[in-house]
Each structure stands twice: as C-alpha cells, then as structure tokens.
Amino acid sequence: MTVRAYLAIALCKALRLISRLLHRGGTAMPGRYALRVCPELLAILARQVKTVAITGTNGKTTSSRMLEEAFTRQGFSCFANRSGANLISGITTEFVMNCNLGGRMQKEYAVIECDEAAARTVFGQLRPRVILVTNLFRDQLDRYGEVSHTLENIRVAIQGAPEAILYLNSDCSLTSSLAETLPNRCVFFGIDQGAIPSREKPALSDATHCIRCKTEYEYDYISYGHLGGFRCPRCGYRRHAADYAVTDVLAQNADGSSLVMRLRGEQALVEVNLPALYNVYNAAGALAAAVEMGVQPAVAIQALAGFQCGFGRMERFDLGGGARVMLVKNPAGCNQVIEFLQNIREPFLLVICLNDRPADGTDVSWIWDADFEGLTAMAGRLRQVIVSGDRAADMQVRIKYAGVDEAYIHQERDYEALIKTLAKQDLPVFLMPTYTALLELRQVLVRHCGGAEFWEQ
C-alpha cells in the first residue's frame, strides 16, 4: 500500500459519506476521484479477493444477483456492485466501501458486473478468477459500435486476465468464439436441442455469418435471436457442447420457469424465480459459475428458486392490479419482454418509457428492430399502450406502425400523473423503461408504493 492508496481510500469514503448525506447515490463519483489520486487502487484492492466478473450485452445484473444470492446462501462473505454502476469508477467505489481505512478488504468474494466497453480497462486490474460472458447482441450502436467491436473489446479485456476461467454461452456464436482465440480455460452453458420448441429463424439476426470464415450459419434449432444450435457448413465452427445444459423446460409462466438441467453430468430440477427464456440463460450461467466457485449445487439451485432481482428486472410494485417493471435496452431484450407479454392471459396495460440520453443510447432507431408487431397479437387483452419518456413521440409512431389502433395509444410524459392514473385502475400494468427512464420512474414508484432506492437494493 502506498500513501496515495491510503489517501484515495479516505477520499473515496468521505465523498461517499457526503453523497449519502445529500441523499445522492454516490456510486460512481467517489471512485472516479479516488482513481485520480491512485490509478492502481482497484488492482491493489482486487488482488485480496476472489472475483467473479460478469459482462455481455444482456443479463449482467440478473446473473450477478443470482450469483450473489448463491454465494450468500453458501455462507461466503461477498459483496457486489448492486447499484448497477459498472464502469471502472463505480466498481472502484464498491471495492473501497468494502475495505477498511487501512486498505484491507473485509470480504472474501466479489461479484462484479462490468460494462462491455469498460471491461478493457477493468479486467486487467480486477484479475477475476472467473469471467462470465452472458451473450452478445447489437446494443447502443452510437456508443458501442458494431457487435463485432464489442466482441473484440471483450477479447482484449480478457487478455488482461489470462488466468481467469471463462464461462461462455454455448448458444451464442459470438460469445463462444472467445474460446477459439483465447488460451483461457472455458466452461460452457446453454440450452440443449429439444429443451424448448425451436423458433423460426428470425427476420433479424445479429450473427448470420460465421465469425471465422463468413459463411452463413445453419441451425439445428433456435432458442431466440441468433442463439441456438449453430454450425458453419464450411469451416466447421459450431456450438460447443454445454457443460451446464438446460435439457428440458418443464413449465414457463408469468412467475418463473421449471427446468431440468445437466450439471457436469448430474441431472437436477431447477426452479427459476423469474419468468422468460432469457432468464433461463441467466440462471444456467449463474449456476455454472456458482458451482465452479465452490457453491454446492443444491445451494445454488435453492438460490435460483428463492431470489428477488429487483431494480427493474421483472420487479414488482403494488400499483393498480399489480405492476411489473422490465428494463429494455436493445432489440433482443425488448423482444424477450414482448414474448413474455404474449403469455399474459388476462387484460393488462402496457407502459413504454423511451429515453435517449447517453446511458440509453442517443439513437432510438433500435425500436424499429424490436418486434412491436407482436403487440397486435395481444389485441383484446392489451387494453392500452401508454408511451412516455423523452422520445414518447417516436415510440407512439412506432406502435402506430406496428399496427396497434391509435385509439389505444396514449401519451403521458409526467411520471407522477402516470403513476396516479395507473393507481386508480385495477388492471395489471407492465412497464418497459429504458435505463435512465427506469431511474426516474422507479423513484416515483418507490415514493408511491414503497421500496428501496436503487443504491440500497
């Protein structure tokens, strides 16, 4: 420990205290200043703990929560960047808040979700034992660029952590290609053929052509988007067999999924306390990483059945006939939410809050890549679509062209007024905000319905 490191820790803790006294989150800012004082602070702290890092386009937060729950139930002392501050500043703040003034870490394990672009600077300092890559989809093109750039970013990031074991989605041809070019030991998780009915090939896929030789992939089955049993007819690059595989999906409903999984040869029944297929992937990845880090399979399975994710990931609020908040950030995640809604059998209201601030992506073109046409299949049950957020007008046009009758589309930009209206009726409500819209919307929801601020979650 250097004098700079002690100073940086003291500064970081002081700034955090001040933030909280001012009723602010203080999740990223203290770490940012601490790193200015001591640029290697994160590396100094991180080498004292066993870290699991989670990156990828979708499912970072949910997978992290699942892992943290498994670690906690196993009795591991661990911490996580639960606030969702997943750039180097926020991650540093989290480490400092879990060390003493002398720079000694107070916990043994860390579960850290990391932004795909930030991973490049973070992984070398973090030196994780395990890196879980959930999936790769097109996302915020104005910020990340093409999905192949994001993949390259992650590859370079992992080169900074050559000893890390990689946990890769076997069904994502982009993610699993990391195993081709990196020397790290790799473990695969995924959904096996036959576990779910195969989908039609989607009109829009983020990985149509072989990452190695650019020949069009063939598929044995598709789970969603470009995920599934891909293989290249020319060079032979294909889905790697999953070490942790979902072999059967017994039931899926609005509350969760029942799965049969193969955990390195052992069969297990797994209940996931979150609905939708993308959470089946999140559960498989988290389970794999938890077991490999020393959590007993039975304990990890209990964690998946019992955990609450919160913070806009299928988060429940007591509003109207019951509200659920489902963060949407990109076409793949949005399509999964729309598909989830197709299974709702009772009348409901839908609220979509579209913002275009830097953290959301300033380009809202992606809403035209998402399959809002699917809403027309819910006619009769979908009683109203309320559009909100900074780009409510664009969302309104999108829903109109999807084929929803304009009489069912309303605009309400004031979240206070919106929540008051929703509270007065008794239908279930599903809210789909983008990231910054979630932060604002949640504050209003918490005020009306109770619940924790995002940094207390």
């Binding site: 896929s205 052509h209 073109s365």
Partner: protein, 242 residues
C-alpha cells in the same frame, strides 16, 4: 394498384432499424388501399430486379462487407446500374447509399470498388459523425424538411453533376464540410439518415411512393393520411435541433 418493393440484403444490411422504412412504406400504401408486396432479397439470391417497382437498401456492419461485395460482383452490380438508368426508384441508406457510389477508400488508404451507379465516392475518416440532424430536401426530392439520425465515419463527395438529396440544416450530412446531404439521381434517393428515416418524415415517404406509382401507372395520387403522430415526432426533434 400495388407496389412490389424489394428489400435488398435484409440479412446483412439491417443495422439501425432500417426495416422501419419498409414497414412505413407498406403501411402507408395499405392505409390507402394500395397493395404492398415486400420481397426480401438476401445474399446469394438471383440478381434480377425487373419484377420490382421500388428497391430499398439499408446500412450494415463492416463485418459482412466482404461477403456483400463478393455477391455484388457476381452480377448484381451490373443489374443495379442498369435499373438505376432505367429509372427504377431506389431508397438507399447509409452503407447502402455508399455502396451505390464508385468506391470507398478506408482511412488507411485501402480502396474498395463499389457499384458505380452514382457519381460519388466515400473516404473513411478518423472521427464518427453521430447524432440527430436535419436537412432541407431540394425541389426534386419534394422540398420537405427531414429529421433523422446519422452515424458514419465515411465522408461522401458528390461528382459535379450529381444533385444532393438536400441541404444540411443541423448536423454533418455527406461530409460535414460542403453542407450537402445525400444524393438524388434519376429516381434514386440516397441518404445518411439511417434507420427509421421515413416514419417521422411522411412527406418524403409519400414523395418516394408517388415517384414509384407514377413510374408504374403513369399518373397517381395519394390521399392524405392523418399524420398528426408522425408530425408531432418530427416537429419535436426539429425544435430540439434548433
């Protein structure tokens, strides 16, 4: 009446919600009782464009560009050049727009030959031109004010005889220097305004549809639609850009 619309390379040129333009054209035709038949023409399919009344080409990733060029040079480039001269309407966006030009020169000097249907070329630059922007369409493009989103590092330069689609009001346009945006030649509409260009710009959409209908049927008319939602989104962005 019916328009047969060809969506060229939807499998690889689909980066920024470009499909929204197809959605927009077909809905605006159907709402008027005009048929819209959409044909997806992926990589590897036959080259002929003779059965279509309108062609749409979107923007794509660099990753698939090589696959695309191989496919183009198997005869589609000739077919496209002939169709353009024959007056077939094209809407080409971002990467698809660049592709209609003569060539693309990367930032480090590598040159890639494109279709050469339009007298323009593109040179890669080190900075990306990203953001919401607006431009004033010329007379030959209907004269409306268009709002869109651009995201490109290539700077496009038009040959001396080629008209731009419009004049930049805010943002970068073709190259961020000469104030031009897009290109307008025969019945080709080329632009950097990617993704859902048409939904928020119904006047431009109708102008392109009318061009295609008039070419096919001699004379055509489009009854006005209730565009309040579209124009509200348009005006809101225009106000923000001022």
């Amino acid at each position: 009446m019916e328009l047969r619309i060809c969506h060229m390379y939807p499998d690889v040129l689909n980066l920024y919600g470009d499909g929204g333009n197809i959605r927009c054209m077909s809905q605006r035709l159907r709402w008027r009782g005009i048929g819209a038949e959409i044909t997806r023409l992926p990589i590897g399919s036959a080259a002929s464009l003779s059965g279509y009344d309108l062609v749409f080409i979107g923007g794509g990733q660099d990753f698939e560009q090589q696959v695309l060029l191989e496919d183009l040079h198997r005869g589609k480039d000739r077919e496209i050049r002939a169709a353009v001269e024959d007056g077939l309407p094209f809407l080409a966006i971002c990467g698809g727009y660049q592709m209609l030009g003569s060539y693309y020169e990367t930032y480090d000097g590598q040159r890639c030959d494109f279709i050469g249907a339009l007298d323009l070329y593109t040179v890669g630059s080190s900075t990306r031109m990203i953001g919401n922007y607006s431009f004033q369409c010329g007379e030959s493009s209907g004269g409306s004010v268009v709002v869109g989103f651009e995201n490109h590092s290539g700077k496009t330069w038009l040959g001396s005889g080629l008209q731009p689609l419009g004049t930049v009001l805010s943002g970068y346009g073709n190259n961020g220097q000469d104030g031009s945006e897009g290109a307008r030649y025969q019945n080709v509409f080329g632009t950097y305004s990617h993704g859902p260009l048409l939904p928020k710009n119904p006047a431009l959409c109708d102008f392109i549809l009318l061009t295609a209908l008039e070419r096919k049927y001699g004379a055509a008319e489009l009854v006005p639609l209730d565009d309040r939602a579209e124009l509200a989104a348009h005006d809101e962005m225009l106000k923000r850009l001022r």
